[in-house]
């Protein structure tokens, strides 16, 4: 069983600070981390491998050379091998160009060792799109199963898995033939503490790094900025809403005014 997890390096939005003057992100303040959803994706691969008692986990990332860090982090969680595709030609990619580049790398990985399951995060916290996973699945012509919250059964004989997929209002259970692609929600598992041997291996690990030239039959027009149909037009501050009335006086007075407002708005509130 070969599971490949796509992992992305993202700025840590928890720590990142916003410059209140320019209203933009202070990127220098942002340490780069493994996209939290992708950490759960790697953890799920580890869980599946343990349950099956065999298998191999590879991770794949596209990004600048520093992205080797998220591959090392994945090795810590329990991945066996890591690949980074890194090249100027990939830069500026939107989700369409990203899924193209990643699928080309997956093709190369699969040529050596056929892939049974690809796992992605539900979305990357820097863009929040969640479009790359299904994009990869379409390019590989395997079914994408998004928003997975549980893999309930793994039927190795028949190469079928049973999964729960989150919906707006509940969930559905799906039976899926392998190979397939899953995108996972955070609740699918808890990140386990990394065993020491993994940490040691991760510290020494050198991922395979590929440039565009290392990939087969790549249409360069579909890569990076050139291959990205979407562009950012303008940036603007959101239109002002009609809020803005601050209550005045001592706290008691303000609370009293608030209660009055609430009682007045009978259409909102029912005071018997």
């Amino acid at each position: 069983m070969h599971i490949v997890v796509c992992v992305k390096q993202v700025p840590d939005t928890k720590i990142i600070k916003i410059n209140p003057k320019t209203n933009t992100l202070d990127r220098r303040s942002a340490p780069a981390i493994l996209n939290p959803y992708d950490a759960h994706a790697v953890q799920e691969a580890v869980k599946l491998k343990q349950a099956l008692g065999q298998g191999k986990i590879s991770v794949l990332s596209m990004g600048p050379p520093q992205a080797t860090e998220v591959i090392k982090k994945s090795i810590e969680i329990g991945a066996d091998e890591g690949y980074l595709i890194s090249d100027r030609a990939f830069a500026g990619a939107d989700t369409l160009a990203t899924s193209y580049a990643l699928s080309k790398a997956l093709e190369k990985i699969a040529a050596k060792h056929p892939i049974d399951i690809v796992i992605c995060g539900k979305h990357a916290i820097d863009g929040d799109t969640g479009q790359v996973g299904p994009g990869i699945a379409r390019r590989m012509d395997i079914p994408p199963i998004t928003n997975v919250i549980e893999v309930t059964k793994f039927d190795k004989e028949n190469r079928i898995i049973l999964v729960k997929r989150k919906l707006t209002n509940g969930y559905e259970e799906l039976e899926v033939q392998l190979p397939c692609l899953l995108t996972v929600e955070k609740e699918i598992n808890q990140i386990a503490y990394s065993p020491l041997p993994n940490m040691i291996r991760a510290a020494r690990y050198k991922p395979n790094i590929w440039s565009v030239g290392d990939l087969e039959a790549v249409d360069k027009a579909q890569l990076g900025l050139k291959g990205s149909p979407t562009v950012v037009g303008k940036m603007f501050t959101p239109p002002k809403l009609d809020g803005g009335k601050l209550l005045e006086g001592a706290v008691d007075e303000q609370v009293k005014q608030l209660i009055e407002v609430l009682s007045e708005r009978k259409e909102l509130l029912n005071v018997k």
């Binding site: 994009g135 039976e175 303008k234 601050l246 209660i259």
Partner: protein, 342 residues
């Protein structure tokens, strides 16, 4: 040739014979775009036994319904729905194609965009068109900062976007509206499907409650710690409200993640929304700004939440909220009955 592409389309999400709220909202938003571009608005309806829903799609604003009714389409599955939608889009060539930013809408749009090799903007909260260039202007909160970015797809068609539920307004249903129904047939065999829906479980838990709640008390990081956050529950209990939180609160573990409000959580539109110790970051605000009455309590007079709030109190939550609870209780005694929110 991108000039060949004409018309605004909305993917109509349905289950159990009911059209999703977001699809009605998109018909409302789409009709404005279609009017500006002077083209018809179409709804794309797939499923099994769903022909009757066509009149509803028209009543909510569509001029045309593209319909595929097939047993294999009984439940949503990426592989079957994608086939139908790709077929229609390739044959009739819309210039704009909108989907609800729901699990199924996002899933379908991502697959279709890849197959049609076109641009897709995720989770938009504002839509407009540049009439001269016939460009969809799909805006969403940009990463970091209280700023919005408009995403354009200049050279590829259709221009696609997923749109957050509850941010657009549906038109009121008009029974007398007339429209055209175009039914297509495609070949789909169950044996070719690699996924099977075994079971669908409807969940009526907290999350559903939050989406339907009339009054929400949302707490932010300003409550200090999990202990301080108890005030939020206390206020909510006193006034019969549902509790929600900001992403920072969820990440701190003070609330389960299904109670997150905002861009990556729920969008809510209650009658009354209390934002307490919430700074009002754009990613939060897009999820609550359509609430009818917004009350903010924050000790920083410059907090952006005050720009959204109908009424604001500048003060320490630990001081203000207990007073609020006390006065509500007192009011209840004075009125000799209950204060309940409808």
């Amino acid at each position: 040739m991108i000039e060949e592409y004409r018309g605004v389309w909305v993917f109509i999400e349905q289950s159990d014979g009911e059209i999703a709220g977001v699809s009605k909202e998109l018909l409302g938003a789409g009709s404005k775009l279609a009017e500006k571009l002077d083209v018809p608005l179409a709804g794309v309806l797939l499923g099994e036994g769903i022909r009757e829903l066509s009149s509803q799609v028209i009543g909510y604003g569509a001029d045309i319904v593209y319909l595929i009714d097939h047993p294999v389409l009984k439940h949503y599955r990426t592989e079957s729905y994608m086939k139908g939608v790709n077929f229609l889009a390739e044959k009739y060539k819309p210039e704009i194609f909108l989907y609800g930013a729901t699990p199924n809408g996002k899933d379908l749009a991502s697959a279709v965009a890849t197959d049609l090799s076109t641009g897709l903007t995720a989770d938009t909260t504002m839509l407009d068109v540049d009439i001269d260039k016939r460009l969809l202007e799909a805006s969403r909160p940009a990463f970091g900062g209280n700023i919005m970015a408009t995403i354009l797809c200049k050279k590829n068609r259709p221009q696609m976007a997923t749109v957050r539920p509850k941010v657009m307004k549906a038109l009121s249903f008009d029974e007398s509206r007339q429209g055209k129904i175009i039914e297509e047939e495609i070949v789909l065999n169950e044996e070719d499907m690699r996924t099977k829906v075994i079971n669908i479980v409807k969940d009526v838990t907290k999350k559903a409650n939050l989406a339907d709640a009339h009054v929400i008390v949302c707490g932010g990081k300003g409550l200090g710690d999990a202990e301080g956050f108890k005030l939020i529950h206390e206020l909510a209990n006193t006034i019969g409200a549902s509790v929600g939180g900001t992403r920072d609160v969820i990440e701190a573990g003070w609330l389960p993640h299904e109670l997150q409000i905002g861009q990556t959580g729920e969008t809510v539109t209650p009658k009354i929304y209390f934002a307490i110790g919430v700074s009002g970051a754009i990613q939060h605000v897009v999820g609550m700004k359509n609430s009818e009455l917004i009350i903010a309590i924050n000790n920083d007079p410059n907090a952006p939440i005050f720009e959204v709030a109908t009424y604001g109190i500048v003060g320490d939550a630990h001081e203000v909220v207990p007073k609020l609870i006390e006065q509500v209780k007192q009011l209840r005694v004075e009125q000799g009955g209950e204060v309940s929110y409808v």
